[in-house]
């Protein structure tokens, strides 16, 4: 048998059930792999081997007594912005240096209730702001994939959930949690050849997740297969009275829909996503996805999402506005960093703490957000953006009158090198051009790999579903996964 870390989550679940392996053995195999590979990747930034082994042991005991959760004994990674009791949770920011929450986020509580084992906390862009995992206080996370024509170059894993993506791709966890505000689960999934789903806004409780933009933030799983994503989302999601935007809708059995096929489904291809100068490899991957679904009995229909081009600028008004408000709490009073000199007053302390504690991208977004919310500019920027957001959401409602699920590329390119796209913030923002519209509309959306580029890097497709219809996304994704047969791991892992 190859290393047990190379199984899928579902295979590991079955091996545990068949008593072919124990959770302690599975966990130890992952801890060994992390020790070996993590120094080159910087995917895990806080290691919790003692917690992992204790949880694994407890899981094996529960199993012996017949109590088996959905993720019983399964080792996973947790993105650094989930508050985990007694374990550093810093949203990869210097301003939360040493912060150890006294409480557990709802999502991690749910995961532990279902038997998951925490290997550690994963790297990310600071406060989830970024598309390359290059703004982390822990340093860059490195993509385990290498370009065939330039293997010496370090590539980004995407962002913001770059550490979770790199960990899952490098077989350092069966699943890792991500959060997605404008594409932070889906774009890194695409860059690392894995599956990532951002469920409908409200499916996963935001309680205990360090906030970036509250009207957009949503947690979801990152895994190596569609089935694994379904199992994991089942464990993470569900109504939570502690989050007033948590959805009351009942959770369907996501795994049960896997394999249902796409016969008779209508797949929407939005005209507006064919952007000028699009990378031909991305177009080819998109066409391949549509051809697979058509061959499997789905009908391909062209749909229109007329306000697509305004989604990015809308997002870059609303997300900074919400972040400037959410991040006001980091002031050196209640937690994290405090910077002040003798004789400083309260304002000096606030200003020095925030100047030293936030990185450049976070400061830029707080400043933009403060400006668009300031007196005199609120209507021109913030309100106008909210109105355009309404039009973007309406576009999807119209499109879903003609189709059941929408197929698009995930990102405009394969993974780029560290240093690329860094001179101009707007160039970096364009990475999320295909993922942001679904975020603004609060719709479920999944990234999954379909093949490799000429450079030998993963290319991803993106499926957007109706609100609370993750099931159609899952069953469509599974057909693409099965027919495309993507079965590649980064070399050396």
């Amino acid at each position: 048998m190859t290393s047990p870390t190379h199984m899928t989550l579902a295979e590991a679940r079955d091996a545990l059930a068949a008593k072919k392996i124990s959770s302690v053995e599975l966990t130890q195999a992952h801890l060994t792999a992390i020790e070996k590979h993590n120094p080159a990747l910087n995917a895990y930034v806080h290691h919790t081997p003692e917690i992992a082994l204790a949880q694994a042991k407890a899981s094996d005991e529960r199993r012996a007594s017949g109590s088996i959760g959905l993720l019983e004994g399964i080792p996973v990674g947790i993105k650094d912005l989930f508050c985990t009791k007694g374990v550093n949770s810093q949203s990869a920011s210097k301003i939360l240096t040493g912060f150890k929450p006294e409480y557990e986020s709802t999502v991690t509580t749910n995961l532990f209730r279902e038997g998951a084992v925490m290997l550690g906390k994963t790297n990310m862009d600071e406060f989830a702001m970024g598309s390359a995992n290059i703004t982390s206080t822990y340093g860059n996370c490195i993509n385990p994939w290498k370009r065939a024509d330039a293997p010496e170059k370090q590539l980004v894993p995407g962002g913001s959930s770059g550490g979770s993506a790199a960990a899952v791709a490098a077989r350092l966890g069966f699943m890792a949690t991500g959060t997605d505000t404008g594409g932070s689960i889906r774009q890194p999934a695409a860059f690392t050849g894995i599956v990532g789903i951002k469920p409908t806004y409200g499916r996963c409780s935001r309680w205990g997740i360090i906030a970036f933009a509250s009207s957009l933030d949503q947690a979801g799983p990152m895994t190596r297969t569609v089935r694994d994503a379904a199992i994991s989302l089942q464990a993470m999601a569900g109504h939570d009275p502690k989050d007033s935007t948590s959805a009351v809708q009942k959770l369907p059995n996501f795994e049960a829909i896997i394999g249902a096929g796409v016969k008779g489904l209508k797949i929407g291809i939005p005209n507006e996503y064919r952007i000028d100068g699009m990378n031909p490899e991305i177009t080819a991957a998109w066409d391949k996805g549509a051809a697979i679904l058509k061959a499997a009995g789905a009908e391909i229909v062209n749909v229109s999402l007329p306000h697509t081009k305004y989604a990015l600028p809308t997002y870059y008004v609303l997300a900074p506005a919400e972040c400037s408000s959410n991040l006001a709490r980091y002031d050196g009073v209640r937690f994290g960093l405090r910077v002040m000199d003798d004789g400083d007053n309260l304002n000096d302390m606030y200003e020095k703490t925030r100047a030293a504690g936030f990185g450049a991208e976070v400061k830029r977004r707080i400043l933009i957000g403060t400006y668009v919310l300031s007196a005199g500019y609120y209507d021109a920027y913030y309100k106008q953006a909210q109105r355009v957001r309404a039009l973007i959401a309406r576009d999807f409602v119209e499109a879903f009158k003609q189709c059941d699920v929408i197929l698009t590329p995930t990102a405009p390119s394969d993974a780029f090198a560290i240093g690329d796209n860094q001179d101009d913030p707007v160039a970096m923002y364009l990475n999320d051009v295909f993922t942001i519209p679904a975020s603004l509309a609060g719709l479920p959306a999944m990234a999954l790999p379909i093949g490799l580029s000429k450079a030998g890097l993963p290319l991803g497709l993106h499926l957007i579903g109706r609100a609370f219809d993750e099931e159609t996304v899952f069953k469509t994704a599974e057909v693409i996964e099965r027919e495309a047969g993507f079965n590649f791991a980064p070399a050396g892992y």
Binding site: G202, R334, R354, R364, K383, R387, A390
Partner: protein, 95 residues
Amino acid sequence: MALTDKEVQHIAKLARIRVTAEELPHYAKEINGILKWIEQLNEVDTKGVAPLLSVSDQVLPWRADVVNDGNQQEAVLKNAPNQQYGCFAVPKVIE
């Protein structure tokens, strides 16, 4: 309409982030670049469109008006950079 260095300084003051004189032109240039790009939103005709505040059509839930948590002083103060007498300690506010 581009923001001047002085205006950026004012925004930084509102955001309680200290920005040095040397950093100002850099921030001003980047912020102006982003704002210019954002201005394309003005092309969109939004007459009669209500601003979207939340994608959820759920009515905010009510809960019973009862104490359901508390007595957590130690936990609340645990991460404080400076605490005294069971309170968060900050520089003197009143002279």
